[in-house]
């Protein structure tokens, strides 16, 4: 995300100077810059800057985007997933999303933000960030001296806003994984897993791709808003969780009737609207690129819905509400890495391809994988993220992105993130299993996790 935008076009110029090897959007031809932005653009890392260097418009848009992206999780993902699970597990599913949001938020400012978005030290600089923002440090606002902390990645907005915006991405990425393990995982183990996964998987991958010194950023991988960092990453983790936990009792033999697809539709609506903050906010500025990202996001979502619907009709002679909702999400996922780099026509293509391919991912591929990825996180987010990342390499418009896309580079990034997430998620699950029991007892699973874990029930 985030390395391509820049308000007054400044950071692109500054980073291009600092990191000559960058081939992604940071090397876009610099546009008109302001002196204040130029000064900030040369920052090697987070630092204090004069309040006068802050862009009010960009800051306001980023604050709105932060709220929009948080809305995608709370209540977007909670409703989206809560509607798809069986009646006796709705509360547990929603509680999992809320619990993860809380755990990730605290760990973000304690450790993860620094690991992801500050420059690393020495040989590890390309792999993991430093410690200068750990322990809730930084993000200062000194009204008395007229200074505010800024990130070197977005020096025209306060670092507090930038860090909060990035936090909402971390929250939703961890929350997405819940879809693969619903109805059978211990709540405490899930929270522990989410915290460890944030630190050992999400933060490093975000550093690789979005911190200018990250090795994939230096390689020139294009990921405007998180196709690899969020969706491939979460999809791979979901697949590992599904294999590790095993299928739910009765899976493949009994019908698992969704509680209320109306909730799922409401969640989809929140995701669709929130995705405007996700993608257009990733421009990190209220500018033309953000406007384009907004438009392509919408077109891809619509195209994804139509494409999934067509695929479903061809296969089953039905157009289901869940299919429409899934198609919307597939289109949104696939446009995520491309949002700031492609034209409207390309967005249409990306959405159409993603809808059909993700339909296969959630049906045909799912059967081949033989994993109880309960709500098809890998089929929609993993596959959609891969489709989007590769098509970004193919369809990125140099006139928009300021750089030529490369399918090979995108493929390298996809394979790297996928492999790392697959392996490290397994490691994190193993560590978690040493401390807490991963799976609930069969009798608790049969009774439903709402009652057995939370002592709560839905009304009649």
């Amino acid at each position: 995300m985030h390395q391509n935008r820049r308000s007054p076009g400044s950071v692109a110029a500054g980073l291009a100077l600092a990191i000559p090897s960058l081939t992604c959007a940071q090397t876009a031809p610099p546009v008109a810059t302001s002196p204040a932005a130029d000064a900030a653009a040369t920052l090697p890392g987070p630092a204090l800057a004069a309040i006068s260097t802050i862009s009010g418009a960009d800051t306001a848009w980023l604050m709105v985007s932060t709220a929009l992206v948080l809305l995608m999780t709370l209540p977007g993902i909670a409703l989206f997933y809560g509607g798809m699970v069986r009646r006796l597990n709705v509360i547990n599913t929603m509680a999992s999303v809320v619990g993860i949001a809380a755990v990730v938020s605290v760990l973000w400012f304690a450790l993860a933000y620094s690991l992801a978005f500050t420059p690393g030290d020495g040989a590890l600089a390309g792999w993991i960030g430093g410690a200068q923002r750990m322990g809730f440090a930084g993000l200062d606002y000194l009204g008395s001296t007229g200074q505010v902390a800024v990130s070197h990645i977005a020096p025209h907005v306060p670092e507090s806003v930038f860090a909060m915006f990035q936090l909402t991405f971390a929250i939703i990425t961890c929350a997405l994984v819940v879809g693969a393990l619903v109805e059978r995982m211990h709540f405490g183990a899930l929270l522990l897993f989410a915290g460890l996964w944030l630190l050992l998987v999400y933060a490093p991958v975000a550093h690789w791709v979005w911190e200018p010194g990250g090795w994939l950023a230096r390689l020139g991988a294009l990921d405007f808003a998180g196709g690899a960092v969020v969706h491939i990453n979460a999809g791979a983790a979901a697949l590992v969780c599904a294999y590790a936990l095993g299928p739910r009792q009765g899976y493949g033999r009994e019908p698992f009737i969704p509680f209320n697809l109306g909730l799922t539709m409401a969640g989809t609506g929140l995701l669709w609207v929130g995705w405007f903050g996700f993608n257009a906010g990733s421009a990190l500025a209220a500018d033309g690129r953000a406007g384009l990202a907004l438009a392509v996001t919408h077109i891809a979502a619509a195209a994804g819905a139509l494409s999934w619907m067509a695929a479903e009709w061809l296969a089953r002679k039905r157009a289901s509400l869940l299919g429409l909702c899934s198609g919307v999400v597939a289109g949104l996922v696939a446009i995520t890495p491309a949002a700031g780099f492609v034209t409207l026509r390309s967005a249409l293509i990306i959405g159409l391809v993603a809808g059909a391919v993700c339909y296969w991912g959630a049906t045909g591929l799912k059967r081949r994988l033989r994993a109880d990825d309960s709500l098809d996180v890998f089929g929609v987010h993993g596959v959609g993220g891969l489709v989007g990342a590769l098509l970004t390499g193919l369809l990125a418009d140099p006139a928009i992105a300021g750089v030529e896309g490369s399918v090979l580079t995108q493929l390298i990034a996809c394979v790297a993130v996928l492999t790392y997430s697959l392996v490290m998620t397994g490691v994190v699950l193993w560590i978690t299993s040493r401390v807490a029991r991963l799976r609930v007892h069969e009798v608790d699973e049969r009774a439903g996790l709402d009652l057995s874990l939370h002592n709560e029930q839905l009304g009649h």
């Binding site: 698992f256 009709w313 002679k317 039905r318 709500l375």
Partner: protein, 140 residues
């Protein structure tokens, strides 16, 4: 045996089997499908012997007799078949049923509806459509 008599026989046997053996059968299917009817006849006779349920035997015999005519094609002269097909094609389709009996309950569309199969809810059912199988092994 008329279709009404066949249905009455099937319904009677359905009730007897339900009460005496606990077996639930499909009355309509029993009255129209010869294979199913013969299977039920076989089952009824087995139960009659094994559990002493003699009252099943006359109804099983009746159904067996009826099953011989089920599904048999009715042979008609070619000219008669062609005439009937032509008449059927010219006869307008009856209006949809009017639940309330009022004029406002006629179908809303004033257009002549397409005879092409609709892709939106009107397509062929598939094996995965039933309520018992729809959500087995996945929700999508």
């Amino acid at each position: 045996m008329t279709s009404t008599e066949i249905f009455a026989t099937a319904a009677h046997l359905h009730v007897l089997l339900r009460r005496k053996t606990g077996r639930v059968t499909d009355t309509e299917w029993m009255a129209t499908n010869a294979d199913y009817a013969r299977a039920i006849v076989r089952f009824a006779r087995e139960k009659a012997v094994s559990e002493g349920l003699d009252e099943l035997l006359p109804w099983a015999a009746k159904l067996e007799t009826a099953s011989t005519g089920m599904g048999a094609p009715v042979r008609k002269p070619l000219l008669q078949s062609a005439t009937e097909a032509l008449r059927a094609a010219q006869t307008p389709a009856p209006l949809a049923s009017r639940p309330s009996g009022f004029a406002d309950s006629v179908p809303a569309s004033g257009f002549r509806e397409s005879s092409l199969p609709s892709g939106f809810g009107g397509g062929k059912r598939t094996d995965a459509d039933g309520p018992d199988t729809r959500y087995v092994g996945g929700i999508r």
